[in-house]
């Protein structure tokens, strides 16, 4: 990984005593984005925009691969943000607001109400995934999110996001 000059990762605050990630640093975000951009261009074949947000929902870094449409930047940010704040892949949000799916699940159609929440910022397009890590609370803490936009198929967007997510643990 290419080191940002003079920018050391503070291991004390980034990892807990068991080696679990507590927060996503810029170095980690760069590693994820580099892998995801390469994956999108070389494997999927469509240049994408990819964004990584932290547990505050704030963008740590966003990269637009050469040739990716300019409008994909903000959609990637929205996907990463939506996955983070809801703690679930944006695929799930898409399922919630799909009336065909909602009609078949026992919970009913109330999930449709999440459409356009958060002043329209909540994005229900497949392609954003939350980043979870073993935390102090029960279950897993959401420490961030990664989102991709730019592939004609949202499934491919999700694959690119997962490639970036995997790179976090390389």
């Amino acid at each position: 990984m290419e080191e940002v000059p003079g920018l050391a990762i503070d291991r004390e605050t980034a990892f807990d005593h068991e080696g679990h990630i507590k927060r996503i640093t810029l170095g980690m975000a760069r590693k994820m984005l580099e892998a995801a951009v390469r994956y999108s261009v070389e494997v999927v074949g469509f240049p994408c925009s990819i964004a990584v947000v932290d547990a505050a929902g704030a963008v740590i870094a966003v990269h637009r691969a050469d040739g990716a449409p300019p409008g994909t930047v903000d959609i990637a940010i929205e996907k990463a943000w939506s996955a983070m704040v809801m703690g679930m892949p944006t695929l799930m949000l898409g399922r919630f607001i799909d009336p065909r799916v909602a009609a078949t699940v026992p919970l009913g159609t109330h999930g449709i109400g999440i459409a356009n929440r958060h002043r329209g910022r909540l994005c229900a397009i497949h392609g954003g995934i939350p980043i979870r890590e073993v935390g102090t609370s029960l279950g897993l803490d959401v420490i961030g999110g990664i989102g991709t936009s730019g592939c004609p198929s949202a499934d491919d967007d999700n694959t690119v996001s997962q490639a970036g997510f995997s790179a976090l643990y390389d």
């Binding site: 290419e2 940002v4 000059p5 003079g6 920018l7 990762i9 503070d10 640093t25 810029l26 975000a29 760069r30 951009v37 505050a56 704030a58 963008v59 740590i60 870094a61 966003v62 990269h63 637009r64 691969a65 050469d66 300019p70 930047v73």
Partner: protein, 139 residues
């Protein structure tokens, strides 16, 4: 020369080196020859709104082909060219200094925006980024 993602990443790395030297935690954004964002990154401990501000500064500097600190004089009633009203513009426009256009000869090929310190410090970080663009990438 187009601003590719690789170029932008090198520029951001160089800018962060300069920011580290000054002792600021900055956000840096690079826009391309059409004003669209290529890459934006936020350093450790940089303030959260700084990333959006850096992005706005980069776009403003690109669009007006001048440092974003100079936009302010448009709105100054005592200046000769008064009448510039930011409220009539899109929400990307900013009059805060810290954005520089990236020029090649007379043409503007992009913009860089930095947020995180005083205007002078931000401009110094911008200049570090532009210097890095002029430097060929080590093979």
């Amino acid at each position: 020369m187009d601003i590719t993602l690789d170029t932008a990443r090198d520029m951001i790395s160089a800018a962060m080196g300069e920011a580290q030297r000054i002792g600021n935690a900055c956000s840096i954004a690079i826009v391309d020859e059409n004003g669209w964002l290529v890459a934006a990154e936020r350093m450790e401990d940089a303030l959260i709104p700084a990333l959006d501000m850096a992005r706005d500064k980069a776009w403003t500097a690109f669009a007006f082909k001048m440092p974003s600190s100079e936009i302010g004089r448009f709105g100054n009633p005592s200046a000769a060219n008064a009448g510039f009203n930011t409220a009539n513009w899109n929400d990307r426009l900013t009059t805060i200094g810290g954005g520089l256009p990236i020029k090649e000869g007379d043409s503007v090929v992009g913009g860089v925006g930095v947020s995180g310190g005083t205007i002078e410090e931000d401009v110094a970080v911008c200049e570090a980024a532009i210097r890095a663009m002029a430097t060929p990438r080590p093979v």
